[in-house]
């Protein structure tokens, strides 16, 4: 030690100037009694020192004073009077930062789910005060004002190596600001590092009891509108409205913006909102990023991820295992590899203890992530400088550079080592013991001697072996081996042993370990006499413990990431094929009608030719003798592939919400419908309100990311609804408050909203100071024929009404969907120019459908109205060919006309017929090969192409089932292996199979 001091003494004087900057112990607080300033100068020497995540210094020195770092490195001077800690064999790291906690704040509230028995329905905010209109926008919340030190919670985090956290209140869509605080147990004034450090957001409205928003797309719309409102508010010179929520929102925009998104799809959704308003969110994910790592990287967002890995499912009973799906099993295997995937992709990320069931699992799981390919350096970065930089507090924490807070941990081994324990966690220069240091290593061979007047043991050989923390001694007496009970604490040592079994009686020795490693003390003999004893250190024993195996997982042997990530996904996205289909019955939907023994060529995603005796040398040839070939089915009315809510039914108009914001690529129903020849659909908002949300028109490009499913350049559509659903007739007794409750009110609702929309548009045109309103924007688009209505409708009176409303505002109702009494007003619909999209034969499920008839489509068609048959049902959608065939049965519609009702006619009403809906050269190659006449109940789909890509193949479907069977079995065996070695398991449970419908609810 003296050696070090001598060597660096020269430097000290130079450095002292810096000390003065750092030691500012000024405080506004008064002391009770004499002031108790302490310098707290400590020097940690001989450590393996990680100055930052990538700078490892052997025999490093760390000097701190007054809670800050004076210096760290190999050649660092130790100030005079410093308390010196010898850290030989120890490791020092910057302590960790968790940027996603609610530490020291009121507990994260449980999300309220509406229970109709709970009470009334609340359409307006019940917050008292000058706040904004929606309770879920809590932008005014400040964590710093509500933060109090919580020693128990701090201790849990310190034990895992954390020294600093960002804390915020996890409640609401806008959650206000978070504060960076240390986990020091001190007055809050000292603990808060940065009071206003970040603004936080989520999709969850948390404890808000207000109806709006009631869906994910509603949350998205609310966020978008709030950005617009805040911009508008900022620009108001003559403030008629003082709005605390807006004030706070605007004043926190320059902070880091953190969005708790959830799964990878929601991360993409959040990012999209941010991009629209020039905000780059930091995204808090859920550990599923590995499923679409490329898309996540494209966001350029920094990601915050948990290390919560699912427990193995208890699949001992194969019937119970039915309730676990392959994607859940795969996630169990792949979740630990997520952080490595992020790192490998070059994505900046931070790790968090968030979402862990038990905080104490953090380090264990971190090491699991490392075994699954995460480098130590990346792990350290994600726990230190990365979050510090994300939060702009890198001048304070994140590394052991001079001037930063003295936040560091001392560990027994490298962090990656399974046996590593964190001994101490120093925060702001204050020591917190988390695990005791190992006692002195006394293992070795000794020569033991006890001397007393009566008998003496001289120079017995004693071996001390075993774990450092629990050494065991053995003495050889003649040929016997006698066990010695050893207790060591600091320098104290005590021994007891029974040398002669025939003559019971213990020797009790107590003494000290001397600096030359030998022991010395007094012994009490069985007869009570005292004696002197010594144990002279002879030599160390060879280390017989095996070095720990480098236990890394071969990632290539894990389950494959599939697109989509569920049972029927593909390991690689299927690509366009060039195909010639020979000798088939081809339903062109064009003037040529149905061609027998004809050919069809698909090239570059398009139909390149339809006709006879075609050839295509570079094409894959399908001999389709006896088969029928048609264009793909288009479902005008479908609710699959929608995430978290198909209705934003909380207001009479929700035209601001967009199904397109919540399209999911992961719904197995898309694949199931491909197996029924469906290639495209309009995904509609539900029918809970007169003016619903905007539709998404998608093609079933199974496995492609959500944004890639959308039909490029498609016109915008929107759902309207009439009748029982919008007047809440069947919603229960509580729902009698929202306007409208009658068909009369439905008319006035439309007139009111369109009147407002027209006034709004006029004001904009006149250059008035108008607040941009997403809801009215959509209605203005309708007025200007830029957006088109699909209206859920049943009864003739209301159908008639909507056409009148539309006429009076100068636009047309594009499509009446369901339109079960369309046959009663077919003449009026024809005059108006509306399309009809109906059920083949549904009726009797509610009062307004008592006059529904299965001849509806037939009459509408005969009246010259463009008519489609739709599904509104995830199962029926895959039998739309049969539903179309029912129009042959009911009314004798021609087979060609019947077939057009699920192909060309819906294409027309969705304005897609220029490139979809028929088999014609130049059109999209959305093509289905059927085993039989497609209208026949016996027809089975053999292949379905979308844009010339084969997304369903009957033969490959069988292969997929084999894959599912074997992969499930492999994963089940692996889970059982884990169960056998005592790993915790969870009961199988089933995820929901969401199947939305608006027709009958």
């Amino acid at each position: 030690m003296a050696r070090y001091l001598r060597a660096f003494i020269v430097l000290v004087s130079i450095l002292t100037t810096h000390y003065s900057i750092l030691s500012a112990q000024e405080s506004t607080f008064k002391a009770n009694g004499p002031d108790d300033y302490r310098d707290g100068v400590h020097a940690f020497i001989n450590a393996t020192l990680y100055k930052d995540y990538k700078t490892k210094i052997d025999n490093g020195i760390l000097v701190i004073k007054d809670g800050k770092i004076i210096d760290a490195g190999a050649a660092v001077s130790i100030p005079l009077g410093a308390i010196v800690h010898d850290m030989k064999g120890k490791y020092i790291y910057p302590s960790f930062i968790d940027m996603y906690t609610d530490y020291g704040l009121p507990a994260t509230p449980k999300v309220l789910t509406r229970n109709e028995d709970d009470g009334g329905v609340q359409y307006f905010s019940n917050l008292k005060g000058a706040y904004g209109w929606n309770q879920a926008i809590r932008s005014d919340y400040e964590a710093q004002k509500n933060f109090t030190v919580n020693e128990a919670a701090a201790n849990d985090l310190r034990k895992q190596g954390f020294g600093t956290v960002l804390t915020h209140h996890r409640d609401g869509i806008a959650r206000g600001t978070g504060a960076v605080v240390t986990l020091n147990n001190d007055k809050e004034n000292k603990v808060v590092v940065k009071g206003t450090a970040a603004a936080l957001y989520s999709f969850s409205k948390g404890t808000s009891t207000q109806e709006y928003p009631s869906s994910l797309m509603g949350s998205i719309a609310l966020l978008r509108q709030t950005y617009l409102d805040a911009q508008w508010y900022k620009g108001q010179t003559d403030k008629r409205e003082y709005n605390l929520s807006m004030e706070a929102w605007n004043s926190t925009q320059s902070l880091p913006q953190i969005f708790e998104a959830g799964n990878w799809q929601k991360e993409l959704r959040a990012d999209k909102i941010g991009k629209e308003f020039g905000v780059q969110y930091l995204l808090k994910g859920d550990g599923t990023e590995y499923r679409r790592i490329a898309e996540i990287k494209d966001t350029k967002a920094k990601i915050i991820v948990p290390v919560n890995f699912p427990k193995a499912y208890d699949v001992e009973d194969p019937y119970k295992a039915l309730w676990v799906e392959l994607d859940e099993m795969k996630h169990w295997e792949l979740a630990p590899a997520n952080a490595a995937a992020l790192s490998k992709a070059g994505i900046d990320f931070a790790l968090t203890t968030s979402d862990l069931e038990k905080k104490e699992d953090f380090l264990k799981n971190l090491r699991t992530a490392i075994r699954y390919g995460l480098s130590e350096e990346s792990a350290l970065k994600a726990l230190t400088i990365a979050p510090a930089q994300f939060l702009n507090v890198q001048d304070q924490v994140g590394s052991l550079d001079r001037g930063k807070l003295a936040n560091f941990i001392i560990t027994s081994k490298p962090l990656v080592d399974e046996k590593c324990v964190i001994n101490e966690n120093w925060i702001q220069g204050k020591r917190f013991e988390t695990n005791k240091f190992d006692p002195k290593d006394i293992r070795g061979e000794y020569s033991l001697a006890i001397t007393n007047p009566k008998e003496s043991f001289n120079y017995l050989s004693m071996k001390v072996q075993g774990e450092v923390t629990a050494p065991k001694g053995v003495i050889a007496i003649d040929t016997n081996k006698v066990e010695v009970k050893l207790v060591v604490k600091d320098n104290d040592v005590s021994l007891s042993f029974d040398p002669d079994k025939k003559k019971p009686g213990k020797f009790l020795l107590t003494g000290v370990v001397e600096s030359n490693k030998s022991w010395k003390g007094k012994a009490q003999l069985p007869d009570g006499e005292w004696a002197d004893w010594t144990a002279t250190f002879i030599r160390s024993l060879p280390d017989t413990s095996k070095p720990p195996k480098p236990d890394t997982i071969d990632i290539s042997k894990l389950s494959r990431v599939m697109y989509p990530f569920n049972s029927y996904g593909n390991e690689e996205l299927p690509k366009t094929e060039n195909v010639i289909i020979k000798n088939a019955t081809v339903w062109t939907n064009e003037k040529d009608g149905v061609l027998k023994n004809a050919d069809l060529v698909i090239k570059g995603g398009k139909i390149s030719a339809v006709g006879y005796n075609l050839s295509c040398p570079d094409c894959q040839t399908i001999i389709a003798t006896g088969k029928n070939v048609t264009s793909g089915i288009i479902d005008e009315h479908n609710h699959i592939a929608i995430s978290e809510g198909v209705n934003e039914g909380s207001e009479a108009s929700s035209s601001e919400v967009r199904i397109g914001d919540v399209v999911t690529s992961e719904d197995v129903n898309m694949y199931r419908q491909l197996s029924g020849g469906v290639t495209a659909a309009q995904l509609l908002h539900g029918s809970a309100n007169p003016i619903g949300g905007q539709s998404a028109l998608i093609k079933f490009r199974w496995g492609y990311a959500p944004e890639k499913l959308k039909i490029e350049g498609a016109d915008g559509f929107i759902k309207f609804a009439l009748g029982e659903n919008v007047k809440q007739s069947n919603w229960g007794e509580k729902f009698t408050v929202r306007y409208p409750q009658s068909r009369m009110g439905v008319e006035q609702t439309y007139v009111n909203y369109f009147t407002k929309a027209r006034e709004y548009e006029k004001a904009i045109k006149e250059g008035k100071n108008v607040r941009k309103d997403l809801m009215l924007d959509a209605l203005v688009q309708i007025l200007n024929k830029k957006r088109f209505i699909t209206c859920h409708s049943y009864v003739q009176s209301e159908i008639n009404m909507l056409m009148h409303v539309a006429d009076s505002f100068g636009f047309k109702v594009n499509t009446f969907t369901h339109i079960l009494e369309g046959y009663k007003v077919a003449d009026k619909m024809k005059a108006h120019g509306a399309n009809a999209s109906t059920f083949s034969d549904w009726w009797a499920y509610k009062y307004e459908v008592i006059d529904a008839i299965p001849y509806n489509a037939n009459i509408l068609t005969r009246m010259g109205i463009n008519t489609a048959i739709n599904s509104d049902d995830a199962e029926m959608a895959r039998r739309l060919n049969q539903e179309a065939a029912k129009t042959v049965k009911y009314g004798g519609t021609s087979e060609e006309d019947a077939w057009k009702m699920v192909t060309l006619n819906p294409a027309k009403m969705l304005h897609l017929d220029s490139h979809m809906g028929s088999l014609k050269a130049g059109k999209d190659a959305d093509v289905v090969i059927w085993s039989d006449n497609p209208l026949s109940i016996y027809a089975v789909v053999e292949r379905t192409y979308v844009d010339g890509i084969c997304f369903y193949d009957k033969g490959k479907d069988a292969q997929k089932r084999e894959y599912i069977k074997h992969e499930r079995a492999r994963l089940a065996q692996k889970m059982l292996d884990e169960k056998r070695v005592g790993a915790p398991t969870q009961d199988p449970a089933k995820k929901n199979n969401k199947a939305y419908s608006c027709g009958n609810d």
């Binding site: 003449d827 009726w843 001849y855 009459i859 199962e875 042959v888 016996y938």
Partner: protein, 437 residues
């Protein structure tokens, strides 16, 4: 004989026109047909007996509501008196379809509470009788009948023990008149081992139902008491136990709604312990243990097969394929479809089952003769055979395929029923408005 036939040929055309008028805007359900008064012969059609046999160019003779003979023209019996001949050359003749497990006639409009008569309050209602609610004047029934469904098993819903079912014919003045077999079995719903989480708009999946074992035990206790009651006399009557007596003494059917394979296995054990004759209703997972069901002779009335698979990992067409798996294993099974108005599509489920593995005649049996066997009515209905009810339908083409499934005539007990319905009337009304010159 040949001569005689020819004479009648001319008449047939006249009769069929007179018998099947598209009546003009009648607001009520059609009048039930009167009793068969004369011997009738359906001549020249293709007869699908319902048991797998098909006879082309056949003669079907029936009198007093019963089939008296069925034979091919090539085996024509010279001494047979044919009676009134209806020429159905080129048409298909099938047994009347039987729709089991339905609330047809018990519910008129799903969302209108006042029209729903299928559920009683409380969990244990073995004594309530579906036939009492059965409304012969339902506007829905004629729309089902006109597609070929002539019989229905009407079933109470809800609770653990829902009540007793009855088989009715679909052309009647009142429920007494309709009943083919009243109170023929008891319907119960087996407890679910997994329960649904979340609420209707935001389902959150399923989890293990911790109350399952208790639910099963409660059911066992109840059945043990009912059994004990059944074999003794009582000073004070227990109406519920009275209604269950025949389950034990006469081996009346106990219909158990159950889908999940482990629950099915528990139902089998339960049935063996109780000594009752069980029929599985729903049976989505029945294909997994088809061999067990065949060996133990446990029949299944499958739930709607135009349905999504129960599990995401399952064969995407599993519900379509299940009938063929049961058929191959030798399980006695029939098809059903939930609800009431939906019954008119039952034959198309059979068509789908045929597209996925059944022969067409096997598919037909799954909605006719198999059903009759399960309902223990195979001595009366379900096939076109001598001595059985003269209940059949005549279709222009394949009954199971909507491309050609058009019923032109139908008989129940030899009575030619009126195939008109409210929807046809509305069709005519508005066709006339728009297209009548």
């Amino acid at each position: 004989m040949i001569k005689k036939l020819r004479v009648h040929l001319i008449l047939v055309a006249l009769i069929s026109v007179a018998n099947c008028p598209l009546s003009i805007a009648q607001s009520d359900v059609p009048v039930p047909a009167p009793k068969q008064t004369e011997r009738i012969c359906l001549k020249g059609g293709t007869v699908h007996i319902g048991n797998g046999t098909v006879i082309e160019n056949a003669y079907v003779l029936f009198e007093n509501g019963k089939v008296t003979d069925v034979f091919a023209a090539t085996t024509i019996k010279t001494d047979a008196t044919l009676g009134r001949i209806i020429d159905v050359t080129g048409k298909q003749i099938y047994p009347g379809v039987i729709a089991p497990n339905t609330v047809l006639g018990l519910s008129e409009i799903e969302a209108v509470r006042a029209t729903n008569d299928q559920g009683e309050v409380g969990a244990i209602n073995p004594d309530v009788r579906a036939v009492i609610s059965y409304n012969t004047d339902s506007r829905v029934t004629p729309t089902v009948r006109s597609n070929g469904v002539l019989y229905a098993q009407v079933v109470p819903q809800g609770g653990r023990v829902s009540g007793t079912s009855s088989v009715v014919q679909l052309d009647a003045w009142n429920w007494e008149d309709a009943a083919v077999k009243a109170d023929e079995g008891l319907f119960i719903t087996w407890p679910n081992m997994y329960k649904v989480k979340g609420w209707w708009a935001e389902p959150e999946g399923y989890e293990l139902n911790k109350e399952y074992d208790k639910g099963v035990q409660d059911l066992k206790d109840y059945f043990n008491e009912a059994k004990s009651y059944a074999y003794s006399t009582h000073e004070k009557k227990n109406l519920r136990f009275e209604s269950m007596r025949k389950l034990f003494t006469d081996k009346e059917n106990l219909y158990v709604r159950v889908d999940y394979v482990k629950e099915i296995l528990n139902v089998i054990t339960f049935a063996e312990e109780m000594g009752v004759n069980v029929v599985l209703i729903g049976g989505a997972d029945s294909y997994m243990i088809a061999d067990v069901l065949a060996q133990k002779k446990i029949p299944v009335i499958l739930g709607r097969s135009h349905e999504l698979p129960s599990y995401n990992d399952e064969d995407i067409q599993q519900p379509y394929k299940t009938p063929a798996i049961l058929q191959k294993a030798g399980v006695l099974y029939a098809l059903s479809i939930n609800g009431f108005w939906q019954q008119r599509n039952l034959m198309f489920q059979a068509g789908t089952a045929s597209a996925y593995g059944l022969s067409k005649e096997e598919a037909l049996a799954s909605i006719t003769s198999n059903t009759a066997k399960i309902l223990k009515l195979d001595d009366k209905i379900g096939t076109i055979e001598k001595g059985k009810a003269a209940s059949f339908i005549i279709s222009d083409g394949d009954l199971l395929d909507m491309r050609s499934s058009n019923i032109s005539q139908a008989f129940i007990d030899g009575r030619e029923i009126n195939l008109d319905n409210k929807q046809k009337e509305l069709y005519k009304k508005f066709s006339d408005k728009y297209f009548k010159k």
